[in-house]
Subunit: 197 residues, 4 copies
């Protein structure tokens, strides 16, 4: 029946159960207060199975983040004609997700973990880098199209946008629609602005 050779193969069932349980614990309890025993019990898994694959609590969270289970950054940046609308849509998706208490709790837990542990921060950076790159690429196109001023680096723009969004989540403030819109205001050369000048 089994396609296995000698010795059991790594159980994908166990891996997924661990990830799911970790995500649940992270959301419910936060980063500290998270208990490996509880994760093992919830996943129906022996503790050693966790420690076999993850050397520590931080490594476990790191993997969780890397899989995209924690930070709500997995949205695709659209590529229409309208640069501002594309970025705005990505921000809206993030904002919408962040309004779910569970997702916000996960984000905070992930940030806390990254703040505390360099190894988690490294994984965290892998994920944010992907998102940053996508946003930067889209903004670069906007610069090329003359929709965005080239007076500042698009990388810095991205950090300002992501920074402001995370700042709101960490401070437990809602990311309203108006707020989202305002984030783009300073970067785009608008008709209104041009005409006013």
């Amino acid at each position: 029946m089994s396609a296995r050779g000698p010795g059991a193969q790594r159980s994908e069932r166990a891996r997924n159960a661990i990830m799911k349980a970790t995500r649940g614990e992270l959301a419910a309890e936060g980063y500290d207060r998270l208990s490996i025993d509880r994760i093992a019990a919830a996943a129906g898994v022996g503790k050693q199975t966790i420690y076999r694959w993850y050397s520590s609590k931080s490594a476990l969270i790191a993997e969780c983040i890397l899989r995209g289970d924690v930070l709500p950054l997995g949205f695709v940046v659209p590529q229409t004609q309208d640069c501002r609308a594309d970025i705005a849509q990505w921000i809206d998706e993030f904002a919408t997700e962040s309004r779910s208490p569970l997702s916000a709790a996960l984000t905070r837990a992930g940030v806390a973990a990254a703040a505390e542990h360099p190894e988690v921060a490294a994984r965290y950076a892998d994920v944010t880098r992907a998102t940053e790159s996508a946003l930067i690429a889209r903004l670069d196109l906007g610069v090329a199209a003359g929709q965005i001023s080239d007076a500042m680096s698009t990388a810095t723009m991205t950090e300002m946008i992501l920074g402001a969004l995370l700042y709101r989540v960490l401070n437990r403030q809602e990311i309203t629609e108006q707020y989202s819109e305002q984030l783009l205001e300073p970067f785009f050369i608008t008709a209104v602005r041009v005409s006013r000048d």
Copy 2:
């Protein structure tokens, strides 16, 4: 004259020693891994003396933040004629402070604590609010003086600036001078920009 009933008075020496030791632990170990036993020992204080006044580890960190011992936000925003230079100077001071590993570690620990615990977040907000208000006030003057576009809220500008700065600290990236300068670029109406339009 005394405002309290009978019984020994609270020892200010103990309180200060606890705060100082807590700060040291935060910087050295981070928020989790922080040990009350070690703080008590370092402060030369009984554990109960800590627990008498702070109901939990989080409450202790919260007080530490409120006293301004953790986040490097205590700088005064200058009030010269040049709005951009004033804000830039505040950012430079923050950036300089953030280059100290100890200060960066403290900031990360504080953010992690705030991310995890609403009560810490509340204290954290008390402190950041003061800084935000000062920056907003200065920016508002800049708007009035026509140095800044009124197309977006100064509060949002402030959050974008602080968000970007914290984002760098959390990601363990240095806040370079160029980065600092770029943060102001999108908000100020410059001669170059005007002429280009």
Copy 3:
């Protein structure tokens, strides 16, 4: 009259309240689990007032025992013509008292304290010695009257009787009337016995 210098006199109210509260704690909680803090609170007294007069928990219990508040040994041994009836009556009084759960608990607590602390044992001995002496004296009269065999020491008889009674209290077994009567059986020369031989 007073041999003391200036200053407030010892508060008899406080002393009594402490003794009463100690007795209550002993009966309710037993010897360990007894808390000076709780005694002070129950007595409406500062802790220092307890420590001023009693150097330790044991000294406090010792005083409590010495005042006759703990062991039910304060009964007078009657002196009628009938030695056996006199001793039997004393035993009955002890037995009756020992059936009160509170009194039995106090006795057990006192024995536990004496077993643990030589200083308590010394006070305990002061109290038991008085009782032993009274019983020995009455038994000696019985020996002189030919009612008791002189083949063994009356002191040992007394220890066997008290030992058996305490053994029952410690083991939480009731001291029944039959048991009390049997305790005297081996020591008295009875008509029945003489005639049978």
Copy 4:
């Protein structure tokens, strides 16, 4: 073969080390003043390993008593022709053991624990019951052989003897040879006595 599911089996090494360390603490410090932390350290065992198997300090002492580590009652009652000599020998063994300070301290600690905690008292009773039964059985043979008066219950005789012996240990008085001998005097029908009547 195994009656248990998967998982590590209870470590007999740990159990024995705990018992040994508890006995040591009991003798050295007495029942109160006994510290679980110290026992764990002395036994080279985690505290949780103690609490996993013993719900409380009292339960730990109870087990210690049940294993015969505390009360010196493990001697066999001889069965020769001479009942008085048999009982006398058992008493002598107890008396000899009780002269060891360590053994006396253990006895006092055990009695104190039993006096304070019903659960300890129950285990204590399990142990004393075995000894009582053995003594009663031997005394019953003596009654059948006409060496002992049947005027009183042999159970009560046993309690008087054990009570007197414990009374001496608790009061920190030595059990001398004369004292031991006198304990048997009232129960046995001697030639002298018969002739006197």
